[in-house]
Symmetry: C2
Subunit: 134 residues, 2 copies
DNA sequence: ATAAATCATAGTAAATTAGTAGGAATTAAA
DNA sequence: TTTAATTCCTACTAATTTACTATGATTTAT
């Protein structure tokens, strides 16, 4: 029940990008790696997932880099974490079959718990996080 | 961010014990293993944790077994899962130090998320779960 | 042209989780 | 009082997942 480092790191990266959102230019992986302490290669993979999910956008080639695809107030923490954390699903049986079948009482619990987590994380924007206003 | 099978299984076991709570006698691991589909040896370990946490109590020796230490309406799902799932902590840095230090904005998020999860799970009793009244 | 960057993907090491195994201690019942 | 059924204790191993490394192709500003 731990958040993976991929998800934690992804959020750190998003926070750094949010701080720089007013800048017109993009931020390179090298710089992001430096200020977050994540290795470049690992960070590349993480930000690639965020790009595929349209959370960030990129410029390729020399002096290229990444920036947020939308304003920090329009990106929720839930959106980011779902991309990096297997849709934030607490157990597999919510969307797959399990031995207990569909009438398993626990299944309803997991479903509600998931809704709870997701709806909470969806109320928090990157902007709020950067301003430390939770 | 998956719930471990230990926690899932522990909850199944607790549900089975809750169904049988009105019986005066205890239930053996062998029987619990049979009706949950968990192997006896693994189940033994899981229920041992629940015993140490005073969620279940046991009779040793022949015709021994386990039963809930309290009525199903007095045991919350949160209580059970915390015992089996490293206190339900989403990230380590909530109670340990991390590279980012104490002024890390994400840390507050994890703390709030944890509170959210725990307070939800604490509102649900085993009784509710058995009656499928979430 | 060149250098600085993203992009794609395969591989490996570390850590965690899940499950096995063996046997000691206890106790109800024959 | 022996026996069989059971909990209790702890060490080990296999499987899976996570975290990270490595290589190199592609793109593009200068």
């Amino acid at each position: 029940m731990k958040m993976s480092s991929k998800a934690r790191y992804g959020l750190y990266v998003a926070v750094e990008l949010a701080k720089r959102y007013s800048d017109t230019d993009v931020v390179s992986v090298a710089l992001l790696a430096q200020c977050t302490g994540i290795t470049e290669k690992y960070l590349e993979q993480i930000i690639a997932m965020m790009k595929r999910a349209d959370i960030v956008l990129s410029n390729r080639g020399a002096s290229g880099g990444y920036k947020l695809a939308r304003a920090p107030q329009d990106i929720s923490v839930g959106e980011i974490l779902r991309v990096l954390e297997d849709n934030l699903q607490i157990v597999d049986c919510i969307h797959k079959d399990c031995a207990n079948g569909c009438n398993c009482v626990s299944r309803n619990l997991w479903t509600k718990l998931n809704e709870n987590i997701n709806s909470y994380l969806d109320t928090i924007s990157l902007q709020q996080l950067v301003e430390d206003k939770l």
